[in-house]
Every structure is written in structure tokens, then in C-alpha cells.
């Protein structure tokens, strides 16, 4: 193989950087043979040996790192898990103070279910709205004390 650097397969175009081998890897496949959950595989194609790793199967047991005769597997990266952004959605702010309350789509869903526009309000201003609503629906005159006989 003469110093060929094994390539790590990239999943779905995203940077799959958890399983990393350094330039010492010579493609002996000891890791593939010893992986207890078959999370490692390889493919010989077009003059190249490609080492593959499946994060969904990997149990992070460290067996590959332990058996590697060249100390090529950098196990540390399998334990490091940085936060990755999944989705970014627009926020709706409180109508009064501008504090973010919920996402735009969430407000749309609530409005749809209520069949009327939902008012975006933060907890403090939601309470104030309660006062407003109450004064609108309150009885015209308060019930007289000891009214019922």
C-alpha cells in the first residue's frame, strides 16, 4: 500500500469528523476486523482502499483505537461532540416589549387552530392582557353581597 492515507467517508455531504485516522494509517484493516458492532467497513475500488465508519452503529467502545498497530485512530474525536445547528426559524416578538416569544410558524399554527390571530405576548404582558379581557367581560354590576336568599 506504501503510505496510502485511508480516506474517511463523508456522510450526506456533511462533515463527518468524529472518526479520524492520522497519516500513520496504512490500511491494515485491524480496526475493521475488531469492531464488535461492525461500525467500520472498507471498499477496494479503482485502485483505492476506502475505510468507512458508521456513526449510527458506533458504540464508542474504543476497540479500534486499542488494536490499531500504528496508533493511527484518533479516538478523542469520537468522544468530542460539538453542537451542530439543525434549523433556524424566524422569531415573533412580544407585541409590547419586543422580547422573543415563539417562532413565526408556531404562532401561525396556534392562530390556525384558534381560527383567529394569536397575540404574541411575553409572560408579563400576557398577564396584563388578562386584566384587559376581564374588564371587557366583567358583569355590568358586581353581585350584591349576600344576594341570594
Amino acid at each position: 500500500m506504501g503510505g496510502t492515507h485511508a480516506q474517511v467517508c463523508r456522510i450526506g455531504g456533511s462533515q463527518m469528523s468524529s472518526f479520524i485516522v492520522n497519516e500513520k494509517c496504512n490500511g491494515c484493516l485491524a480496526c475493521v476486523q475488531n469492531c464488535p458492532n461492525r461500525a467500520l467497513d472498507y471498499r477496494d475500488h479503482a485502485g483505492k482502499r476506502v475505510l468507512m465508519h458508521n456513526m449510527g452503529l458506533c458504540a464508542r467502545c474504543g476497540q479500534c483505537w486499542r488494536v490499531c498497530p500504528e496508533q493511527a485512530v484518533e479516538f478523542r474525536h469520537l468522544l468530542e461532540s460539538p453542537w451542530q445547528e439543525v434549523v433556524a426559524l424566524g422569531l415573533t416578538a412580544c407585541r409590547v416589549c419586543g422580547e422573543p416569544v415563539y417562532t413565526f410558524d408556531y404562532g401561525k399554527k396556534v392562530s390556525e387552530k384558534l381560527r383567529m390571530p394569536a397575540e404574541a405576548l411575553c409572560p408579563a404582558h400576557r398577564r396584563e392582557k388578562g386584566l384587559r379581557v376581564w374588564s371587557r367581560i366583567r358583569p355590568a354590576s358586581p353581585p350584591s353581597p349576600g344576594g341570594a336568599r
Binding site: 415563539y102 396556534v110 405576548l121 398577564r127 396584563e128 392582557k129 388578562g130 376581564w134 355590568a140 353581585p143
Partner: protein, 160 residues
């Protein structure tokens, strides 16, 4: 006989005892922030409105709940949250027109008045009796009587 909570803000002095006993009963600690009933300060001085779940006949929280975790308990005339079904999406919080559906960030749970299973502590401990737990029929009678009084005076004046 169905009963319901009735508040008379004219009698409330804003002492906050209802908030204390409510959180004590439901949460085990005296913390007004975790109370199901909240005393709201009015714009004019000395006006306090104890705000609690109105237990709507057609509750918006029940309408928006995606898991049907909110239901009406006709026996005790209340709207209840089934925490076994609740997924804490906070849709009910956004939908409540009175702002009384609240969310406990620590427990990851919504919370609202449940009439203390028929013995509301707020009504029990309210000294000026601004909060009362009365039979729905009686409350209706009071309202009808007040309306009749409003009409009776001008009618009498006309007759005289």
C-alpha cells in the same frame, strides 16, 4: 352541584395570600411565582384583580392542544391537563386569552387552576372574601337579580 370560583376585585386588598396557599398546595412551597392564581395590579391605585383559570366552556387551550391532553371535567366544572399526555409544547400558554395557563420551566410542565379537587385553598383563605367558591346556579341568580334591580329603578320612576 357544579361550583365555580368567583372573584370580586372590589373586595381584594392585594395581600397575596391566595398565591401563597395555592403554590403551597400544588408545589409544596410558598412561592407566588408558581401560583395558579395571580393578583394583577390594576392601573388605578388600590385595584387588584385575582386572576385564575376561568374554566371556559369552550376552552381555547383545549382547542389548540395537539395531544388532546386538556379536557373538561363536568363533574367539578373545571378544565384539566392530563400530564400523561402533555408534551409541553406550550401551545395552550400561547392560546389562553386570560394569560393564566403558565409554564414551569424547572419541571417542564404547564400549570393551571384545578379547583383544588373541589376545595379551592384561595377561596378558603381569602380574608376579605374577594374569592369565593359558589354554586354556579347561585352566581347566575345574583347576576339576574342585579340585572332586575338595574331595570326596576327606572321603571318605578316612570310609573310614579
Amino acid at each position: 352541584m357544579a361550583k365555580q370560583l368567583i372573584v370580586e376585585p372590589e373586595k381584594c386588598n392585594g395581600c397575596g395570600k391566595c398565591e401563597m396557599v395555592c403554590s403551597l398546595r400544588h408545589q409544596g412551597i410558598s412561592n407566588p411565582a408558581l401560583s395558579r392564581i395571580r393578583v394583577i395590579q390594576g392601573e388605578q391605585e388600590g385595584f387588584h384583580l385575582p386572576m385564575h383559570c376561568q374554566h371556559c366552556l369552550n376552552p381555547p387551550c383545549m382547542t389548540v392542544c395537539p395531544r388532546k391532553a386538556i379536557s373538561r371535567d363536568e363533574e367539578l366544572n373545571r378544565v384539566l391537563v392530563d400530564y400523561g399526555l402533555c408534551i409541553a409544547c406550550k401551545m395552550c400558554v400561547a392560546a389562553c386569552p386570560f394569560g393564566v395557563m403558565q409554564f414551569n420551566e424547572e419541571r417542564g410542565q404547564t400549570f393551571k387552576c384545578d379547583h383544588c379537587d373541589g376545595d379551592p385553598q384561595c377561596a378558603r383563605f381569602c380574608e376579605p372574601k374577594a374569592i369565593d367558591y359558589v354554586e354556579t346556579v347561585k352566581m347566575e341568580m345574583d347576576r339576574m337579580r342585579a340585572a332586575a334591580r338595574r331595570w326596576a329603578a327606572p321603571t318605578r320612576k316612570c310609573a310614579a
